[in-house]
């Protein structure tokens, strides 16, 4: 159990796979920079892997001051125990005050294991992180500059702010796309700290037999326009209209959980808390009632158009434009209007 170290750095776990840094790691670098500036400390990134030193530049460009490089052949593919050992060793040695990890398949496997070893608190899937003084209502002690870990809870029906008074580091995971990816400053430099971590046979208990990686078929994150359909679309056939509108306007096709569960479209298209979080220039929600889990994944879009037959659907609460009516009539009208303008 580690005591608070108020001079400690703000750290990011620099997740990489097959020689590529994960986007969420770069998004978190920007957040770590911001938090570090608020606290007046440096921002650090832990970079475990095999032959990954080159990636440090990118981390510097996204706001990191110190890259803690753990280059080891046993870290070539992610495995829980060797990666946990690298992270635990460095946290114990440098005692950062905050450690943020991307809530990816890897991050959600790694962070709890590390937090358990350190007996530190860990808050999953934060949607916002902030710094504030907090008074413990039990002891009336005021704790300066704590990390506010803000996340939806209870199926997204409430927003909880979590703090960790004394069992540090303060750890949190954040989903991809939740923090904006800031543009890199390419000439920005920092320090590479080469770390030796012993990864002996006791950490290599899993044997990797085979690995199969699929390219992402749907690029929702990069899309400027997203046309998304929900349970109200009714059938796979009707979803063609969503594709038609996306084709006409030049956008990607998204979907709500109800559409996925109803078998209308593949899971790759899911927008929302358990799917992809998006912030396009334009989001058109068709036949989506707007459950909180869905809204959490798209409400940061610059412009939102909602089309629904139910005037009381919650989706209208986040919309900029609302059309109450039958999408089967409205979409063809939209396609026509778009073609006329082209």
């Amino acid at each position: 159990m580690l005591e608070p170290n108020r001079q400690g750095e703000v750290w990011v776990f620099a997740e990489q796979e097959d020689g590529v840094l994960h986007d969420v790691a770069l998004e978190l670098c920007g957040k770590a920079r911001e938090l570090a500036d608020r606290l007046g400390v440096s921002a650090g990134a832990v970079l475990p892997g095999a032959d990954v030193g080159e990636m440090a530049k990118k981390l510097f460009a996204h706001g990191i001051d110190n890259v803690y490089l753990v280059d080891h052949p046993r870290l070539s593919h992610y495995q829980t125990l060797p990666y946990a050992r690298a992270l635990e060793t460095l946290i114990g040695k440098h005692r950062p005050q905050i450690v943020i990890v991307g809530a990816t398949a890897i991050g959600r496997d790694l962070a709890p294991r590390v937090a358990s070893t350190l007996r530190a608190g860990l808050t999953a899937d934060c949607t916002a992180l902030d710094i504030s003084d907090v008074t413990d209502p039990k002891t009336s002690v005021e704790h300066k500059n704590l990390l506010l870990q803000i996340r939806p809870a209870f199926g997204g029906n409430i927003i909880a702010t979590i703090v960790n008074f004394d069992q540090w580091p303060q750890m949190a995971t954040v989903r991809e796309g939740v923090m904006p990816l800031k543009p890199p400053t390419n000439n920005r430099t920092g320090k590479i700290v080469e770390e030796k971590v012993e990864i002996d046979d006791t950490a290599m208990v899993l044997k990797l037999i085979q690995r199969h990686v699929e390219k992402r078929k749907v690029n929702l994150k990069g899309a400027r326009v997203i046309v998304a359909g929900g349970g109200g679309i009714g059938s796979r056939d009707n979803f063609k209209l969503i594709y038609d509108l996306a084709g006409a306007i030049g956008g990607a096709v998204g979907a709500s959980r109800a559409a996925i569960d109803g078998g209308l479209i593949d899971k790759d298209h899911q927008v929302g808390q358990t799917g992809t979080t998006v912030r396009p220039a334009l989001y058109i929600a068709v036949g989506i009632s707007g459950a909180i889990q869905h809204r959490a994944g798209m409400e940061e879009s610059a412009k939102i158009i909602a089309i629904n037959t139910d005037r009381d659907a919650p989706i209208f609460s986040v919309a900029h434009y609302g059309i109450v009516g039958d999408y089967k009539q409205i979409i063809p009208m939209m396609i026509k209007a778009i073609k006329e303008k082209k």
Partner: protein, 304 residues
């Protein structure tokens, strides 16, 4: 070769169906008014364990931590084929965060002592953290395999499994014991068996018996209630219908690591999500209305 499994299950409020009736005037959620369900992924964890037993022999023990009402999910597990069920219930465990919860569960698993597999659902729908599984594995000092998609084979105490990695999969091998977290795509969970329901629907934990006795004898004196409870508990035990109930003392838990005291994360504030009904421009579902909308999107450079 037979394998023994422990399955961790949780009773959760049905957060997927929070209706307006469940919201209080001040916007907070009234947990009591929500129906409870067997955490969906835990059903798949249970199925994984039952499938191992059906193929290789061994036992399936289900544990749940929660209030006496959580015995519902244990009964359900027995109906579906579990051999043994244990309820961990103790007021001193209330308000545990994931670290404290995993400590308590790991102490219970150590008390069970014999296990080759621990199966957990990947995450529970009331918190969605996916932390308790990996944290239990760490506390037990055993490897974890998250996101089980398929049990490929088990041979000589080595399990080979296919796990999902989000954008693909990998096949890994681990020597037992191992903790595995299970996702929905891993299997189809079997329904309760009618025969087992008939046989075990009256199974109870002692705390439930005490509550039933109190409800039936509202005027009864304490000693009278205690005696009647003990009589019924004894009767259930003889019929093999008593679900084990453990507290923190039974699992030799260090109380400073349980409940609020053992939880590094503290809830500082809770805000209800209030839907605002303002601020959107209503567009008429007509050719003119939609033409104007597209025109506006071009003017403000959203599109085009």
């Amino acid at each position: 070769m037979a394998y023994d499994s422990v399955v961790c299950v949780k009773q959760v409020p049905d957060t997927a169906n929070v209706t307006t009736e469940a919201m209080r005037e001040d916007g907070t959620v009234n947990r009591g008014s929500l129906p409870t369900v067997f955490n969906p992924e835990d059903l798949h964890a249970l199925e994984s364990a039952l499938a191992v037993r059906d193929e290789y022999g061994g036992t399936v023990t289900v544990i749940s931590m929660g209030p006496p009402k959580a015995a519902d999910v244990l009964r359900d597990s027995l109906f579906r084929g579990a051999d043994r069920a244990i309820l961990l219930t103790d007021r001193r465990a209330a308000a545990s965060d994931t670290l404290a919860t995993s400590y308590i569960l790991s102490q219970a698993i150590k008390t069970i002592d014999r296990y080759d597999f621990i199966f957990c659902g990947r995450q529970a729908i009331d918190g969605d953290t996916a932390q308790v599984g990996p944290q239990c594995a760490e506390k037990l000092g055993i490897p974890q395999i998250t996101y089980l998609h398929e049990m490929v084979s088990i041979q000589d105490h080595v399990a080979r499994v296919r796990r999902s990695i989000g954008h693909g999969w990998e096949i890994v091998e681990a020597k037992l014991p191992v903790l595995i977290t299970v996702i929905e795509s891993a299997n189809r969970s079997r329904p309760p068996s009618a025969r087992r329901v008939m046989r075990m629907k009256r199974a109870r934990v002692p705390a439930e018996v005490a509550m039933e006795v109190k409800a039936e004898m509202p005027e009864g004196a304490d000693e009278q209630l205690a005696a009647e409870t003990e009589r019924r508990v004894q009767e259930l035990r003889e019929k093999g219908l008593l679900i084990e109930q453990w507290d923190l003392d039974h699992i030799q838990a260090d109380l400073s690591r349980c409940g609020l005291a053992g939880s590094p994360t503290k809830v500082h504030r809770i805000q209800a999500i209030v839907l605002t009904k303002e601020g959107y421009t209503e567009v008429q579902p007509s050719e003119t209305g939609i033409k104007e909308l597209i025109h506006e999107l071009i003017v403000d450079r959203t599109w085009g």
